[in-house]
């Protein structure tokens, strides 16, 4: 069904990637034959008695019996061997501006070859990409796109980065890791756009090969996480701290949902935590929510809510606070915390970084943290 709304062919063609796309066979036919895609051994699991396994990739730690899959629907126990069904199984492939991820302190104005597979280890009621994240691999059209081919394609398209995005890259860990290694060999950087719901050993391996991570911090209470994402807050905070410690470039996005996660006290606590634990230079993006998936009874976030959140974050001492999904707003741009000069101006995905020279403010020379080349 996702084939109808998120046509792989259409997306790939729009990005000039038709050569990489497989025919979409639509909902009326078998989405894929098993033989088209390799089934690879999963990493980060332990074997249990009676051919069961425990997946230790994410905090859910699914215990999976033979012939069953974990919560994410993309990792399957086959006779006691745990496997990933999505290695190389790209269901979305586009060339996107890096700002769309959003990453604002990472190669501004660059493009990223953006790839996804089916599956997610959460189920956010407001998921914007549920047509791929909440489906099983065999239920949606996909094309075989092995890691080396991804790197080759990024290079051919002049994209300096590969972004693992749209659905939840944690669940396609093996594919992402191998693609990042292949990209690094060609000097193509890799960025993970994630919910941060991952255990440290797996995250540590990723931090060896990734150049940047964007994590969606979905709220700041366990209650919100439990009720609206089916995940937990604490492991996400642990992942944020770990990435910050590893000095992999980190940005955070908070999708503000009116009345659910935009309370002043919650935001104040969240921003204080970010400033204190991750540092005041951690870019924080507040993004506008639109009704979607299972959360359709709440109207889009009003601009005032976003601006209120922006003020709270600034008050908490965060230096780089942005508003998303509000093209043309001044809070789309990057300002030097020393002199206030706009060092990177943005209008939607149009970017002007001429006031940033060698990672420094052209006005006062203060360094602006990020990955600039």
């Amino acid at each position: 069904m996702a084939c109808e709304r998120r046509s792989f062919l259409k997306a790939a063609a729009a990005a000039g990637l038709a050569a990489a796309a497989a025919p979409c066979r639509g909902a009326g036919q078998a989405a894929e034959e098993a033989s088209e895609f390799p089934v690879k051994p999963a990493r980060h699991f332990v074997a249990l008695p009676e051919k069961r396994v425990r997946c230790e990739l994410c905090p859910r730690k699914c215990e999976v019996a033979d012939r069953e899959r974990g919560y994410c629907g993309v990792r399957e126990n086959r006779g006691g061997d745990y496997t990933t069904l999505v290695w190389g199984r790209a269901c979305s492939l586009n060339i996107d501006p890096i700002e769309k991820k959003p990453l604002f302190h990472f190669l501004p104005g660059a493009t990223a070859l953006s790839v996804a597979t089916a599956g997610c280890n959460m189920e956010c009621k407001f998921c914007q990409n549920w047509e791929i994240s909440q489906f099983r691999p065999e239920q949606i059209a996909a094309s075989f796109m092995p890691p080396a081919r991804l790197a080759e394609l990024a290079a051919a398209r002049g994209a300096p980065a590969i972004a693992y995005t749209y659905s939840e890259p944690v669940v396609f860990f093996e594919y992402m890791y191998d693609a990042a290694v292949a990209g690094n060999a060609r000097k193509i950087k890799s960025v993970m756009i994630s919910n941060g719901y991952i255990l440290e050993p797996a995250l540590a391996e990723l931090c060896d090969v990734l150049a940047a991570v964007k994590i969606d911090l979905k709220g700041f209470t366990e209650k919100f996480y439990k009720e609206y994402t089916k995940g937990e807050l604490a492991p996400v905070l642990a992942a944020l701290k770990y990435v910050a410690k590893r000095r992999v470039w980190l940005e955070i996005v908070v999708l503000l949902i009116p009345s659910l996660n935009d309370g002043a006290a919650e935001l104040t606590e969240m921003c204080a935590w970010i400033a204190g634990e991750l540092g005041p230079d951690t870019p924080l993006h507040f993004s506008r929510y639109h009704p979607m998936y299972k959360l359709k009874n709440i109207p889009p976030t009003p601009l005032q809510s976003l601006e209120r959140a922006h003020a709270v974050a600034k008050k908490a001492g965060l230096n780089y606070v942005y508003l998303g999904n509000v093209a043309g707003h001044e809070a789309e741009s990057t300002y030097c915390p020393q002199c206030g000069k706009a060092v990177i101006t943005r209008y939607g995905y149009r970017v002007d970084a001429r006031a940033l020279t060698d990672g420094k403010c052209a006005g006062c020379g203060a360094p602006v943290p990020g990955v600039w080349e």
Partner: protein, 299 residues
């Protein structure tokens, strides 16, 4: 469409298998016929089916073939159901044998040649609806075979243990109608199994549940575990999906006890969803209130 609430027929035949150990199709067909007549208190199966399938209705037989050829709904039982429906005037062309994928059906031996009716996977027959259907905690896209192609759903699962839901007999097999079953295995599948069974379209179309216990399994499910499978040589039949699963649980529990295995409750996977389903009015979860009609060699 719970026409016979609280009633379950447990039918067994100690001579179901021939000298070669294989199920003898005529005896299985006979066992099924007896069970249907008993359930409907009908003189013949035709009379029984006339209460279940209205003339011209398309019938979907939802099988369970997750475990492959060795522990799936058997082609022999499906063939017997198709033949019985045919006798009652439901042509094979109006019947579809169905599960999630064509590949799994084929691997379980569920072909049109083996069953006498067309066998189709959701993946090759329209996929899933684009809209989300909600029921309690469940929100899913439903198989179009269920929503569009059939008017009557006959659920033919397997009498077996399940490591998360406790058992997978009838109601758990309905996870095969939703696109995202992997999201609903927490908390021993409670309330999710009940919520799926309580989807309005499922409630409206589910007319009969049959548990295939020719080979049953008391532990190690849902995959095939030879050490825990046994030739129960029987079937359960009922229109009350809760009562049928409750009786199936009892059979599995007895076998577990005989084998020295902990009870499902001790194993922390008692199917709490049975009580939840009963609270929704889907059927009877209290075994003391279920009328078990024993047929042949009984339960």
């Amino acid at each position: 469409m719970n026409i016979f609430p609280g009633k379950v027929v447990a039918a067994r035949d100690a001579k179901l298998r021939g000298a070669d150990g294989a199920v003898r199709p005529p005896r299985l067909a006979d066992l099924l016929a007896k069970a249907l007549r008993r359930l409907g208190e009908a003189g013949d199966t035709r009379a029984f089916w006339s209460r279940i399938v209205k003339p011209g209705a398309k019938v979907g037989l939802k099988v369970n073939c997750l475990a492959g050829a060795r522990l799936s709904t058997t082609p022999q039982l499906v063939r017997a159901v198709v033949a019985s429906l045919a006798e009652a005037g439901v042509p094979a062309g109006d019947i579809v044998v169905w599960d999630r994928t064509a590949r799994e059906l084929k691997a379980a031996g569920l072909t049109s040649q083996a069953t006498g009716a067309g066998c189709r996977g959701t993946d090759e027959a329209g996929g899933y609806e684009t809209a989300i259907a909600s029921s309690g905690e469940v929100g899913s896209c439903l198989a179009r075979i269920l929503t569009r192609d059939i008017g009557v759903l006959i659920n033919i699962g397997v009498l077996k243990d399940h490591d998360l839901s406790g058992v997978s007999i009838g109601m758990k097999n309905l996870y095969g109608v939703i696109h995202n079953p992997n999201k609903y295995h927490d908390n021993a599948c409670d309330p999710y199994v009940a919520d799926v069974a309580n989807l309005p379209v499922v409630r409206a179309k589910l007319a009969l549940t049959i548990a295939d216990g020719t080979l049953a399994q008391c532990h190690g499910g849902p995959a095939f575990s030879p050490a825990h499978a046994w030739e129960y040589d029987g079937i359960l039949v009922g229109t009350d999906p809760v009562a049928l699963d409750r009786v199936g649980c009892e059979i599995i529990e007895r076998r577990r006890k005989a084998r020295g295995l902990p009870s499902l409750a001790e194993a922390k996977r008692w199917p709490k969803w049975l009580a939840t389903a009963a609270s929704y009015g889907l059927g009877e979860a209290d075994l003391a209130r279920v009328k078990v009609l024993e047929e042949g060699d009984g339960m």
